[in-house]
């Protein structure tokens, strides 16, 4: 896998020179940021409630619209970055929280908290989701390191099956305790309920983001595999643990506050790496910005598509994400054909 990607870097003619990579503030990047800002402004002024016409319009603006837009930005950045980190750690482009069952583990964690503490607070739910998704991700990575793989496509297949097992377990527990609709409504992530006082924990994601940026170089080394990383002076196991902890925190917080956000971590990093090649350090800001933009766009769509009602954003992401995922797979199939 390592050698394959290395070969791809040399062969691919679209790969920009390394020196260009170092510069982050290029014109395309500034344009991307500008378009995300514009999307954010559109998101601020999209909704049923007439902000400028009503007397308490501006109050409403600060109670729901601003938190919603902030939540969108934070969630988008978090999910896209976790996807990138997971792909790097597993050296597999098809890995992300939905394809290896991390989200299902988070859902199971939420359910466990609901069962143990009647009427749990948000902190409790979040803790449960974080702990369970950490355990789940670690189990999967443990499994990946132990087995020899014949095809890189087998990883998401096993991961999705694992996710199905976990969600079968959740379904069983939920049926047993009569809580099916809790599970069901969790699996449909939506930003509709975001308002002041209900989203602030998402700011934890900022800390996660800073940590990821700080560790970006070492994570890139870890992405070369255990042997090379160790030779280059990186404590591989500790780094894997740290990366998984960061992923689990981001996924758990998002799971508790928003719900299930499928495929974002898969499509954004893949599109960025198609456009720019694989350099974590300079791709990270791109992945953040593209993640924010994608989810904001989807959320605006979800608000206007059946106005005055709302479609949960995870439906739109699930559908679009599935289509994009299939397109990415087919593209890979074509490039494999050429070789």
């Amino acid at each position: 896998m390592v050698s394959k990607s290395a070969i791809a870097e040399v062969e691919s003619p679209s790969q920009p020179q390394f020196s260009k990579h170092q510069k982050i503030w290029t014109i395309p990047f500034i344009l991307a940021i500008l378009s995300v800002v514009i999307l954010g402004i559109i998101s601020l002024f999209t909704g049923v409630y007439d902000i400028r016409g009503q007397e308490d319009g501006w109050n409403m603006f600060f109670i729901t619209r601003v938190p919603r837009t902030v939540a969108l930005m934070l969630t988008g950045a978090a999910m896209a970055m976790t996807g990138l980190i997971m792909q790097l750690m597993s050296q597999n482009k098809m890995v992300e929280p939905t394809t290896i069952g991390t989200t299902e583990w988070a859902g199971l964690g939420l359910l466990a908290v609901y069962l143990l503490f009647p009427g749990p607070t948000l902190v409790l739910r979040m803790t449960g989701a974080i702990l369970f998704s950490f355990a789940g991700t670690m189990i999967f990575f443990f499994f990946l390191r132990r087995v020899k793989l014949r095809s890189s496509l087998i990883v998401p297949i096993i991961g999705l099956m694992l996710g199905a097992v976990i969600s079968a377990f959740s379904t069983f527990t939920a049926l047993f305790f009569n809580m099916s609709q809790v599970v069901e409504s969790w699996f449909v992530g939506s930003f509709a309920a975001v308002q002041i006082g209900r989203y602030e924990y998402l700011w934890i994601i900022v800390i996660v983001t800073i940590l990821i940026f700080m560790y970006a170089n070492r994570l890139t080394l870890a992405g070369l595999g255990e042997d090379i990383a160790t030779t280059l002076g990186v404590n591989y196991n500790r780094l894997i643990l740290l990366a998984n902890a960061l992923v689990a925190v981001a996924v758990g917080v998002v799971a508790a506050v928003i719900g299930n956000i499928p495929f974002l971590g898969l499509i954004v990093p893949n599109i960025v790496s198609m456009l720019r090649g694989d350099d974590l350090r300079s791709n990270l800001p791109w992945v953040c910005v593209m993640g924010m933009g994608t989810i904001t766009l989807c959320d605006i769509l979800s608000r206007v598509i059946i106005m005055p009602f709302e479609v949960p954003v995870s439906l739109i992401l699930g559908t679009i994400g599935a289509v994009v995922f299939i397109l990415i797979l087919l593209r890979q199939r074509k490039s494999r054909r050429l070789r």
């Binding site: 098809m94 939905t98 189990i139 499994f143 132990r146 087995v147 020899k148 793989l149 014949r150 095809s151 496509l153 087998i154 998401p156 297949i157 096993i158 999705l160 099956m161 694992l162 199905a164 097992v165 976990i166 079968a168 377990f169 379904t171 069983f172 049926l175 047993f176 099916s180 609709q181 069901e184 409504s185 699996f187 449909v188 499928p262 479609v311 949960p312 995870s314 439906l315 992401l317 699930g318 559908t319 994400g321 599935a322 289509v323 995922f325 299939i326 797979l329 199939r333 494999r336 054909r337």
Partner: protein, 352 residues
């Protein structure tokens, strides 16, 4: 092959013995004996449990005129279990051999997603009345046809041609399933709780979903497909050795794979539209039957898988209905065991 055989014959007794040894499916007579013992024990257990299901706890006495109708009603459930066991065992074992991988189940290929999408959208667009009425032969045939067409499109698109890739096809099937699930998940969210409950009972696999009306179509279809698979055993034996080996043995790899997958699609869609989704049942059955039948010959693995499946289904239903009084959760319990077994198996695997 026959030329080789006759040559071996002329080479005397030693080679003749070698030949007979080479054609046997089991490593030793002991294993063969154990196989037949286990097979008959499992079939016996299945029969016993189904007799129990038919007769135990019958509210009316044997000599009453309503005894026969009660038994008949219960017989429908038994037949449904037979069909489920046949479909899932044959489909999963064949799928494992064809994909050369013993931890994937064919039920991941989106049949269930399509099933739940069909039912959810019926409820969503046409209301609860339509869902209750959506039960005739027509709807059954429609569902089966839709699922088979979907898998044919998938296979034809991704498996044919020089660069067909099985893993890619699997992954795309799963992703299509996920996309369909997100569509139906959204529709379910807009349902009233009462409608949601109605749908929930449909979407969880259960033999009580089975409708005797479908049997005249389902039974012949399943029997023909199962026989096709059974008589395809020799090819499957070779296919399970992998693409390269199978090709050098002179098997038309692409064509045989697509043929097998179509048969699997028929089995899975009949079972899914008759009983609802059962994700890990086939997996559970196949893994257990590999343990029980220490051979690679599908002519022996298939019957064992069927026996395992039938005895699991009937005894689980018998225990949970009459001993533990928990009627609704049978399939969920089977799923749970299948899922746990899946976890154990993948954690013990060394290579995939």
């Amino acid at each position: 092959m026959s030329a080789l055989d006759s040559q071996l014959h002329t080479n005397g007794d030693f080679h003749a013995r070698l030949r007979t040894r080479a054609t046997r499916a089991f490593r030793s007579r002991k294993e063969e004996k154990r196989y037949w013992l286990l097979l008959s024990a499992l079939l016996g257990l299945g029969l016993l449990a189904s007799l129990g299901l038919l007769l135990y706890n019958n509210p009316v006495p044997v000599d009453s005129p309503s005894f026969i109708p009660v038994v008949e009603r219960r017989l429908v459930a038994i037949i449904a279990m037979l069909i489920a066991a046949l479909c899932h065992s044959f489909a999963t074992v064949a799928f494992h051999s064809v994909t050369n991988n013993r931890i994937i189940t064919p039920s991941l290929l989106g049949y269930e997603a399509l099933y739940s999408a069909i039912h959810t959208s019926t409820l969503f667009f046409f209301g609860a009345g339509a869902l209750v009425r959506f039960t005739g032969i027509g709807s059954f045939v429609l569902q089966v046809a839709l699922m088979i067409v979907m898998s044919l499109i998938l296979y034809g698109w991704l498996l044919s041609g020089k660069y067909g890739n099985l893993h890619l096809m699997l992954l795309i099937g799963i992703i299509i399933g996920a996309g369909l699930n997100s569509v139906s998940g959204f529709m379910r969210r807009l349902l009233a709780p009462s409608e949601f409950d109605l749908l929930q009972s449909r979407l969880i696999g259960s033999v009580t979903n089975a409708n005797a009306e479908y049997f005249p179509i389902a039974i012949p279809l399943v029997i023909i497909t199962v026989l096709c698979l059974f008589f395809f055993s020799k090819k499957l034996n070779v296919l399970s050795l992998g693409k390269d080996v199978a090709t050098s043995f002179g098997v038309k790899y692409q064509a045989s794979i697509i043929f097998t997958l179509v048969l699997i699609a028929v089995l899975m869609s009949v079972s899914t539209s008759l009983l609802g989704p059962l994700t890990f049942f086939g997996f559970l059955v196949a893994i257990l039957s590999y343990q029980a039948a220490p051979t690679y010959d599908h002519r022996y693995v298939f019957p064992m898988a069927f026996a395992v499946g039938f005895s699991i289904l009937t005894s689980a239903y018998f225990l949970l209905y009459h001993v533990l009084q928990a009627q609704t959760v049978v399939s969920v319990v089977i799923e749970l065991f299948g899922g746990i077994l899946f976890l154990i198996v993948i954690l013990r695997k060394r290579s995939l």
